[in-house]
Symmetry: C2
Subunit: 412 residues, 2 copies
Amino acid sequence: MPVNYATPAPSALYPIAGVRLGVAEAEIRKKHRKDLTLIALDAGATVAGVFTLNRFCAAPVQLCRAHLAAGAGIRALVINTGIANAGTGEPGRQAAQATCAAVAKLLGIAPEQVLPFSTGVILEALPVDRLIAGLPAAQASLAADHWHAAAHAIMTTDTVAKAASRRLQVQGKTLTITGISKGAGMIKPNMATMLGFMATDAGIAQPLLDELVREAADASFNCISVDGDTSTNDSFIMIATGKGELAFASGQEPGWTEVRAALIDVARELAQAIVRDGEGATKFITVTVEGGKHRGECRQVAYAIAHSPLVKTAFFASDPNLGRILAAIGYAGIADLNVEDVKVWLEAAGQSVLVSEQGGRAATYAEAAGAAIMANAEITVRVHLGRGEATASVYTCDLSYDYVKINADYRS
Amino acid sequence: MPVNYATPAPSALYPIAGVRLGVAEAEIRKKHRKDLTLIALDAGATVAGVFTLNRFCAAPVQLCRAHLAAGAGIRALVINTGIANAGTGEPGRQAAQATCAAVAKLLGIAPEQVLPFSTGVILEALPVDRLIAGLPAAQASLAADHWHAAAHAIMTTDTVAKAASRRLQVQGKTLTITGISKGAGMIKPNMATMLGFMATDAGIAQPLLDELVREAADASFNCISVDGDTSTNDSFIMIATGKGELAFASGQEPGWTEVRAALIDVARELAQAIVRDGEGATKFITVTVEGGKHRGECRQVAYAIAHSPLVKTAFFASDPNLGRILAAIGYAGIADLNVEDVKVWLEAAGQSVLVSEQGGRAATYAEAAGAAIMANAEITVRVHLGRGEATASVYTCDLSYDYVKINADYRS
């Protein structure tokens, strides 16, 4: 059961002019499930992406990078679940190339115009023949209103499909954004691949979109995982079809601020949905660190808290075990941190409780007040380092029995 | 149930001339349990220690550092469980000082000759009056053969008392070493304080002992935790009483190599016992990384594998989920790692199975062979990076349901 998250209804996911999606059963690893998604783009779209920094990056990730760099104009994305096509060496690269070639032939485009994505078990060979055999059915189901179906088809250990959509007026013109994501990892998900695909009908020049996708990832998917500390297949793609009423050649044009904010907001919603559906999660936790000298050290402290299995089990137990939070702050690696200047609050449902200051328990703190906060399903840990003006937030969930169960059983 | 570990019998723990130990019930946090340990040293012992790098380090750790630096000659150690006296600010420092003063008064020594240690719940005040009231009983029980009782009295969430002892001949003379430790954290234990106390009857000059304690920690307690990534109270102390037949003024003297090796070996046994008693552990896992350019990068990769909750749950499930191991190697942070050069073996009970090479599954690997290795309680993951000659090992355990249960329930 995800924490305060339900898949939006199909009708709540606005189609994006210039994008059609189709799904099919290709029996990649199991029968009788939609495991193949094809996304076709009209000519003229700009596409940008950010990918895992894992050295064992999957074959499709290698191809995505090459095809985006080729600059031939991306016209299709193909996504399979079941097998990650990672740790598969040269045969894996050939399988990903064959996939792109098959999509290209079907759609009458070049292989370099296709981006491939895979998620699932790694170190096993992709059954590329079955994948290719499934493509005509995916093509036959291509439709602008199939975002909901695609959100379902890219799921692996996810318990709910994840999608978000917005329609708003900017400069008197309509902007539409729709996206889907998958992933059910807790923070630092290692192998629980995160995929995110977003499209807008605005036109966005390639350099501006390249910048925006990095910025959006930094405020969303990178706030639930650490740079580099990612699965073999993590990918986040932003598509600007240019078929709508707005178009941007540069960030100086009027309306860009609103469009940029709306796109980042959808990316954050898609990323947070992954945490809300965290394996075994019963709580959604925001860790906000303020008062740092720079953003980097704020993130460092926020991740130390968010990664601590002891902090995460305390949240599962609804136990205001502040000592575990202080210890995480203490070992986060700020060598000259003055613990006397650190303050910590627990916050939920509009309540804020100062729990620690001057290197210990706050004089005003009563355990009952902390326990009341911990009983909520959405909790913020707010830390002030007392060293500067920088701030950062990361999102995580608690660590429960079910996390162990899910990950011990994943392959069986 | 610890993995292949049982507390040595009292008779297997050799007394160390110049060391007496006493225990008592002080009702620090609970009634009817031995929670106070006093260790008295004859004059002339040298003592050295390494301590947590956590910025929220506990009051007793601060005092230990100051008292060792004072150089007045350490004559006593006092250890309480129940309350960690960490995150307690100025009142906490006063409580630790009052403890040292009371021990000093009782034994007729100076407060600077006392090292205090605490372990237990943090952010709660140490009931220093009850601690001091318990000291006479601890003093009354001082005896050279109370190592076993002391090993029990320093336990917190430990399921077994941890101790190790050696008696060997070096240069025709007898060397005796005995030590105890506590801690039940998995690797990266954060808050599960590790304490280690070792004594030998050899005489070891202060500079040599200072060097040795760091070296021993590096090969033992620091191989189950990361530098800096430690609890508020972690402490490791080495005592050389000089009451035996051997004495060393420098590392050049004959016999030092054997003595050094024996001391490090006992430290490693005490540290490994902590992993074997890891919270909820069902397996003891050695991660050995070879072929690195330097030891640092070998440790980095070893820790990435050992810290991954996904790798650890796979071991719990006896699932040879190699993908999770490869992914951890890939995100360990070696930016120029060539994954084609990496090899991975699973080893147990004298069997070695090559599972991965050339960026993927080894051609010779059969899942049944991997599964057979994973069925053992003691497993080695051996990685060769193919970049150089350096090597490093770390020790960890699996992540089970019981880990969550223990840590969710710890305070209740």
